[in-house]
């Protein structure tokens, strides 16, 4: 069969692995799992305007941020004087954020954080908003009304549970070819590519994926688990197609569908490929 599933696999998203599966004592089950977390960059804890600006930011998408676990990035505070981390945690909680840890802190800051009941993270990978080997971002246009927001508060990752029905979900439109080695992720929305995706390119979306050029790379729709997501393309030459974690590689795609306009969707646990006519 051309599909398989493994619930332990997550091919994308920023991850913080928690623990490996222990082998010996079978009584206690501790499994590793990956979650996507928000990272809050803290420029200056004494900045009085910080919390009001944070409130503004959260006000733009209250559902998105409600009870969201947050990692506080202390990289700009290496030389800053000590501050009351427990107090900061309390204020973040007032804004419906749940601080769970810090990253990039000094050893002293890390100790204070642990005393405040938080954990210490190594810096995670940023989620795949647009990661290219050469760091070139010109080819991606993200229609994001919140883009020109205050630079002091940067959210780097989506919350753990993606809600594809969210009203603020927008489509990402790519007008230029997606080259080999590039990864484009439409978070909480659809991805529309008006050009060709080369072999070795990766298209990811929480929603549907539309490719109006030739799809030669990989396309993964519904990466946060939406089984209703579909892939549409004008010419199918993909290396791999996947919906909600179920996939087919090129070898599992019938030859008569290669080069054809198709739609790809999930039926039960099967990835279906149907010609568009």
């Amino acid at each position: 069969m051309g599909w398989r599933k493994d619930a332990n696999i997550k091919m994308t998203s920023a991850t913080q692995a928690v623990l490996d599966e222990p082998r010996d004592p079978p009584a206690i089950q501790i499994r590793g799992a990956s979650y996507t977390l928000l990272v809050l960059e803290l420029p200056d804890p004494k900045d009085q305007t910080f919390y009001s600006r944070l409130a503004d930011k959260i006000g733009q998408a209250p559902n998105f941020y409600r009870f969201a676990p947050v990692v506080v990035d202390l990289k700009d505070l290496a030389d800053a004087p000590p501050f009351n981390m427990a107090e900061m945690g309390r204020r973040l909680r007032q804004h419906s954020l749940i601080p769970i840890g810090v990253q990039n802190g000094t050893p002293e800051q890390n100790k204070v954080a642990v005393d405040a009941g938080w954990t210490v993270f190594r810096e995670g990978r940023p989620s795949l908003v647009e990661v290219g080997a050469d760091g070139d971002k010109r080819t991606v246009e993200t229609p994001d009304p919140q883009a020109e927001d205050t630079p002091a508060i940067e959210t780097q990752a989506p919350p753990a549970v993606a809600d594809s029905d969210s009203p603020d979900a927008t489509a990402m439109v790519i007008t230029q070819p997606v080259r080999s080695g590039r990864q484009v992720y439409a978070h909480q929305g659809d991805l529309v590519v008006l050009a060709t995706a080369s072999p070795g390119a990766e298209l990811l979306a929480d929603g549907h994926i539309h490719v109006y050029g030739t799809l030669r790379g990989r396309a993964l729709a519904g990466v946060s688990g939406d089984t209703r997501a579909r892939i549409f393309c004008r010419s199918l030459e993909a290396e791999l197609v996947s919906v909600a974690g179920y996939w087919r590689v090129r070898d599992d795609i019938p030859e008569d569908l290669i080069g054809q306009p198709v739609q790809i969707f999930l039926k039960g646990e099967r990835v279906m490929i149907e010609p568009l006519s």
């Binding site: 493994d6 696999i9 997550k10 091919m11 991850t15 692995a17 490996d20 590793g32 990956s34 990661v131 080997a133 080999s180 080695g181 590039r182 990864q183 072999p199 070795g200 390119a201 990766e202 290396e239 791999l240 996939w247 590689v249 090129r250 070898d251």
Partner: protein, 271 residues
């Protein structure tokens, strides 16, 4: 006792991936369980040369990061028994490789395979260092020209100072020279370095000479290791090299230009 063999060169375009694919296939054909790993993260090509690019789901980096299990990422070769390929990621870069992560995957592979072939990227930076760090033996792929020989000399220095065996004061990495893209006619005309010249500069034992051959490019383009093409000189030369590696004594071939008859020479001139 399984062995880790790294294909390295310093310089790019000399035939590391071709050699890795050919050697891995050759060792497997002789009955040894072999796996070949692509260390060229971000510029992955081994899967193309091995003709398995249509079956890649997970890769080396997924395994290092714990996103996939090793046997999910390993691709069994369809032509040669005992042969598996571990492709790499095209969308990540060399920073995704960590010494600990790589070491863990190699340890796991050692349980199942006799030979682990590491296809190194060009250069002497992180990717190449990761590929050679764990090596037990190294095959230095060199072209008979000065820049390639100089880079090979450089990478030999790196092997002797920055490999695990060097750091832990173990027996040094065993080095082999493989001279590729050797064109006996051009050597005779003085346009390429002679075998002896290269050996004198590098001072490591010669494992084989692979003649420049059109069949190499042809084989890469159709995704079939050239060693499987037993009609081609390059294929036979790789076969010899693998047998020598396994301890057989075989005379070096392809060092002299092919003798052509008068008729052939006339044809050659007019062609």
């Amino acid at each position: 006792m399984s062995k880790i063999i790294t294909m390295t060169s310093g310089k790019g375009g000399v035939g590391k991936t071709t050699t890795a694919a050919a050697f891995a296939s050759g060792l497997a054909l002789q009955g040894h369980k072999t796996v070949v790993i692509d260390f060229d993260v971000g510029l992955r090509n081994l899967d193309l040369v091995m003709g398995c690019e249509r079956r890649v789901v997970f890769d080396f980096i997924n395994v290092i990061n714990g996103d996939a299990k090793l046997n999910q990422a390993l691709i069994k070769d369809k032509r040669v028994e005992n042969l598996a390929i571990l492709p790499t990621s095209q969308t990540r870069d060399k920073d995704a490789l960590t010494q600990k992560g790589v070491g863990k995957v190699l340890e796991q592979l050692k349980e199942d395979f006799d030979y682990i072939i590491c296809d190194s990227p060009a250069g002497i930076e992180k990717g190449a260092l990761m590929a050679l760090y764990h090596a037990d033996e190294a095959i230095i792929v060199t072209n008979p020209e000065v820049s390639s020989v100089r880079d090979s000399d450089r990478i030999l220095g790196v092997l002797q100072s920055r490999s695990r065996r060097a750091e832990e004061n173990l027996e040094p990495v065993k080095e082999h020279l493989l001279l590729t893209r050797y064109d006996a006619n051009r050597v005779e005309r003085g346009e390429m370095l002679k075998v002896d010249d290269v050996l004198e500069i590098l001072g490591i034992p010669l494992l084989g000479i692979i003649p420049e051959s059109q069949s190499v490019l042809k084989a890469s383009n159709v995704g079939q290791p050239v060693i499987l093409d037993t009609d081609s000189a390059a294929g036979r030369a790789y076969n010899d090299a693998v047998s020598r590696f396994l301890g057989e004594t075989i005379e070096h071939r392809f060092m002299k230009p092919e003798r052509r008859g008068l008729f052939q020479r006339l044809l050659w001139r007019t062609a």
